[in-house]
């Protein structure tokens, strides 16, 4: 705790002479792990505009509402009509609303990392006990958590609604759990890609455009090629093409291992063997994004 020092030499420490008014600090210094957690929570709050200007709260909050609204409507309809199933699978929800998720990543990844780069705050962080990897882990984890909140909240709405509508408990719980695993993976993947793109484009406007391009143009290209392959009857090609865009990667993983119905043309997802490749590619991209971020910050740290 801060202690008032008398205007005299502190015994045993001849170099420190304090004037009344300046209080030295003798309390705990909590070190790297604490600093990393503080950066994580500050960044996570920042991803929803908390602790920032009113203006920066608008978009993330709006996207959160847009993300949850369809779930609320589906639940209301299911309860009112006494339906015996939800109109949309837990695993399918994020795929359908991918545009909202992409918009969120595109707006929040640049604000999370490019601000520190643009205003040259990064060297201040590295003049403290934390290391490059601490900074990257805190930033990565905070954006992934923010995305998980965005994607898991509507699933929770669906699940609670399903239980209120007295749908089969075991069935719903299993679907909900599978959905959570899927959006967790999606959050890690999208956060990693968004941060890498944002970290190499410190100009915020460019960062937003570049993230949207990476997430949606790849999806557009992949689904067009898949449609062509499907028309030509080469369903094997459909599965392999799906490896080349983030959202189809998640689709592939969950239809192979998480009981999801594939959104691929023809509704045929990858087989178990192909699915293993999907999982490896997804994990590889997540690890690769982390590695690239660490490299990028090793450079700017000085």
């Amino acid at each position: 705790m801060a202690v008032e020092q008398p205007a005299a030499t502190v015994p045993g420490d001849q170099t420190r002479i304090h004037n009344i008014g300046y209080r030295s600090y003798d309390g705990p210094r909590l070190g790297r792990a604490y600093a990393r957690r503080s950066l994580y929570s500050q960044s996570l709050r920042g991803a929803y505009g908390l602790g920032r200007s009113v203006k920066s709260k608008v978009l993330p909050m709006l996207l959160f509402v847009v993300m949850c609204l369809p779930a609320a409507i589906m639940v209301a309809v299911a309860v009112a009509t006494k339906a015996n199933d939800l109109p949309l699978d837990y695993t399918r929800y994020a795929i359908v609303l991918q545009a909202v998720i992409s918009l969120y990543v595109a707006s929040q990844a640049p604000q999370s990392v490019s601000r520190d780069l643009r205003f040259k705050t990064v060297p201040l962080y590295f003049s403290r006990p934390i290391e490059t990897s601490d900074y990257v882990r805190a930033k990565y984890a905070s954006l992934a958590s923010a995305l998980f909140i965005l994607t898991a909240a509507p699933l929770l709405v669906l699940y609670v609604g399903a239980l209120l509508a007295k749908l089969d408990f075991a069935d719903q719980t299993k679907g909900f759990a599978q959905g959570l695993v899927s959006v967790a993976l999606l959050s890690l993947l999208f956060a990693g890609l968004g941060l890498v793109v944002a970290a190499v484009t410190p100009r915020r406007g460019f960062g937003i455009a570049a993230v949207i391009a990476v997430l949606t143009i790849t999806y557009g290209a992949v689904s067009t090629l898949q449609a062509i392959a499907d028309v030509q009857g080469s369903s094997g090609a459909v599965a392999w093409i799906g490896l080349f865009s983030p959202i189809t990667l998640i689709d592939g993983v969950q239809s192979a291992f998480l009981g999801a119905t594939s959104a691929f043309p023809g509704g045929v997802g990858p087989s178990n063997g192909e699915g293993a490749v999907y999982v490896l590619v997804t994990l590889g991209l997540i690890a690769g994004a982390y590695g690239l971020l660490v490299r990028r910050y090793k450079k700017v740290g000085l």
């Binding site: 304090h18 300046y22 600090y25 705990p28 600093a35 705050t121 201040l124 934390i130 000085l302």
Partner: protein, 320 residues
């Protein structure tokens, strides 16, 4: 506080530090050198952020190569460039930086309030930093370096971009960091003049090499430049010339003070101590000339770098 031993840092094209060995004790120490002399590079090595190419360095008795995080917990750093986000207030920013140094939330808030008050930021601390003047921004940068009550702070060019008043206020604040807060300071500048007044000790580097390291009192004694102006007499129609020749004959090298007010009649020489004053007085008396003025000139750092006449004149021209 700081000890380096044959410390070198080579980049692919330049040698930023060249076998630098220096010891810095408690107090306020100035690190002076022209742009590109290697000052910022030295600070980054001392923070354990950039590995030295060869040699070793210790800060507070901790090896920079292996104890970076421990060093950075105990020292503060104020960078030379802008580093403040414009859209948050000074309070929010400094609290966050205090937590980054490991201070628990309550302590971080208390110390932020204290530190901002000590550097002279009051009501404005709740407003976004974007609207601050350069002087206020420098104070925020200083506050974030002091908020965790370090034992030592590195201040990289803290007076850069400030007007003369702001400069004096900042120098006064730097002095207080040691006298009132008990924190030792390593402060860099490319101007020797301003650090002379503030520091107990000055280290001069040039091209990554140590030029000299001495307490400021030695420094001023040995390198004061004297400006002399004398009258002419019938016997010596060019009195200035006569003094110059007489001093030359006694082995004291003299330059004429072109570029200064009264150019052509002003002589400059380096005073080595009391003897020089006596010598000059005697020479002028012997010649029967009148002494119009004899004064110490504030000197510019590049004087210490070079003995070449041309640059000395130029430097003195700026230093007056």
């Amino acid at each position: 506080m700081i000890a380096t031993e044959s410390l070198s840092k080579r980049f692919p094209r330049v040698t930023a530090l060249d076998r630098l060995s220096v010891d810095v004790g408690p107090g306020v120490t100035g690190l002076v050198g022209a742009n590109g002399a290697g000052k910022s590079t030295l600070i980054k090595i001392l923070l354990g952020l950039s590995p030295a190419t060869e040699g070793r360095a210790e800060v507070l008795g901790l090896d920079v190569a292996t104890k970076g995080p421990e060093i950075r917990e105990r020292v503060g750093y104020m960078p030379e460039h802008d580093c403040l986000p414009p859209d948050v207030s000074a309070t929010e920013f400094v609290v966050h930086m205090a937590r980054m140094s490991g201070l628990p939330p309550t302590a971080a808030r208390e110390r932020t309030a204290d530190t901002l008050r000590h550097v002279g930021l009051y009501e404005e601390r709740y407003r976004p930093i974007g609207g601050y003047s350069t002087g206020m921004k420098q104070r925020v940068k200083l506050a974030q370096a002091l908020v965790h009550d370090p034992q030592l702070v590195f201040l990289d060019e803290p007076t850069n971009g400030l007007d003369p008043v702001g400069r004096d206020e900042m120098l006064g604040l730097i002095r207080r960091i040691h006298t009132d807060f008990g924190i030792s300071v390593l402060v860099t500048s490319h101007l020797l003049g301003e650090l002379e007044r503030t520091c107990d000790h000055v280290v001069v580097v040039d091209g990554g090499k140590l030029l000299r390291s001495s307490s400021t009192t030695d420094f001023t004694q040995t390198t004061t430049t004297l400006a002399i102006e004398v009258t002419d007499t019938d016997e010596h129609p060019d009195g200035t010339r006569a003094v110059r020749d007489a001093l030359d004959a006694r082995g004291v090298s003299v330059q004429d003070g072109s570029g200064l007010p009264g150019a052509g009649h002003v002589l400059l020489l380096t005073a080595a101590g009391e003897e020089t004053y006596d010598l000059v007085r005697d020479v002028i008396a012997d010649l029967g000339l009148g002494l119009v003025r004899m004064e110490q000139r504030r000197h510019h750092i590049s004087e210490v770098f070079t003995d070449s006449d041309a640059e000395r004149k130029e430097a003195v021209g700026h230093g007056g």
